[in-house]
């Protein structure tokens, strides 16, 4: 009981820190302090999690945080200023990957404990959403990174009948998801889940590849919003309020920022996202 109070209090404090941090990040005079507030909130939340009743063995978590911190600091310190947008894209992709992995790990944990299907269904839907949004964020961010880094062409890349393939992929995901929800304890469920992961990765690829390199900052802002929603969905799956709150905050404010960035370019979001597709379609019609 005492431990739970520590956990929840730290999460409550982190919620306030995140909100104020985001608010201050939007103003030139306070932006740096806002970033520190966000970092402090995150530090508090991680410290509080050390008291979490589910956390029985602290060594693996400590090791993971240690390794991740070193990798994070070294890469963040080394990256050159001009490469910042692709760095943000890469980091964002890692966050999406983490949400998808947490969703799968939570499924593995659930499949050990026998529960009534009705009790599980909302959790399973939440983790499928976390998997979908997290997977799209991961591969989409990697494509954005590759375009900005010049690893692939910054030109809009499309396949013949690009939209049809995207639609088929989405349909494939939905039918796979239904298959998974109908028999989540079946021996084939893990195979279905793996297929779903592949579908989400392809969806992210199909989503970002048609967007030109110059529009990548807007796409990264949108993917950032998505990674927030992925964290939120994972929060529903693992029953953690702070994940839900912080994810929703980032999801909603990221969407607003995306719209602001589009307006600054005198474009609409649909124009940014789909003009590559339209141009490719137009060329096909002309040729």
């Amino acid at each position: 009981m005492m431990r739970e109070i520590w956990v929840q209090s730290s999460y409550l404090a982190a919620t306030i820190f995140f909100f104020l941090g985001l608010k201050q990040l939007g103003h030139p005079a306070t932006a740096r302090r806002g970033n520190y507030l966000g970092a402090a909130g995150m530090g508090l939340a991680v410290l509080g999690t050390a008291f979490h009743p589910d956390l029985q063995d602290p060594w693996l978590p400590l090791l993971a945080v240690g390794l991740g911190s070193i990798a994070g600091i070294v890469s963040a310190q080394r990256v050159v200023m001009t490469a910042m947008p692709q760095m943000v894209a890469l980091l964002n992709g890692l966050g999406g990957a983490a949400s998808a992995l947490v969703a799968i790990a939570e499924y593995l944990r659930l499949s050990q404990v026998p529960l009534a299907a009705t009790q599980q269904l909302p959790t399973l839907i939440a983790l499928l959403l976390g998997l979908l949004i997290g997977g799209v964020t991961l591969s989409g961010s990697l494509v954005a990174f590759a375009k900005l880094q010049g690893l692939i062409s910054g030109q809009p890349l499309t396949l013949p009948s690009h939209r049809l393939w995207s639609l088929l992929l989405l349909l494939g995901f939905v039918s796979g998801a239904v298959l998974f929800l109908v028999a989540p304890q079946a021996p084939t469920a893990l195979a279905v889940l793996t297929a779903l992961v592949i579908a989400t990765l392809l969806l992210g690829l199909f989503f970002v590849a048609p967007v030109g390199g110059g529009d990548m900052p807007v796409v990264i802002a949108l993917l950032n919003s998505l990674s927030g929603l992925a964290a939120s969905a994972a929060g529903f799956a693992v029953n953690n309020n702070l994940l839900i709150i912080a994810g929703a905050l980032v999801g909603a404010s990221g969407l607003i920022l995306t719209v602001i960035m589009c307006k600054a370019m005198n474009r609409s979001l649909t124009n940014v996202l789909f003009s590559g597709l339209v141009a490719a379609g137009g060329q096909a019609d002309g040729g």
Partner: protein
Amino acid sequence: MSITNWFAALFVFTLASFAGLEVINKVPPTLHTPLMSGANAISGIVLLGALTLLGGEGPPLLKGLAFTAAILATVNVVGGFWVTDRMLAMFKARETK
């Protein structure tokens, strides 16, 4: 979770989303990338989920996935706040010139 708890979680999500819609406005273009980057670091909050799964009971596959997730999320969080600070430090230096 009971259905009441699910709805409580949905209320929390809805209210936090509205807070997120209101929290930023009139951001100057120079702050677009730092704000995006700072928000991105916060979305690494999924780290907490990875940590509780990693510290609990489970088969090796679960541990392996949770361990990978925890490392990736930590890189997202630490690297995210770090690059945001580097960007903002430069921004400030330019301001004072």
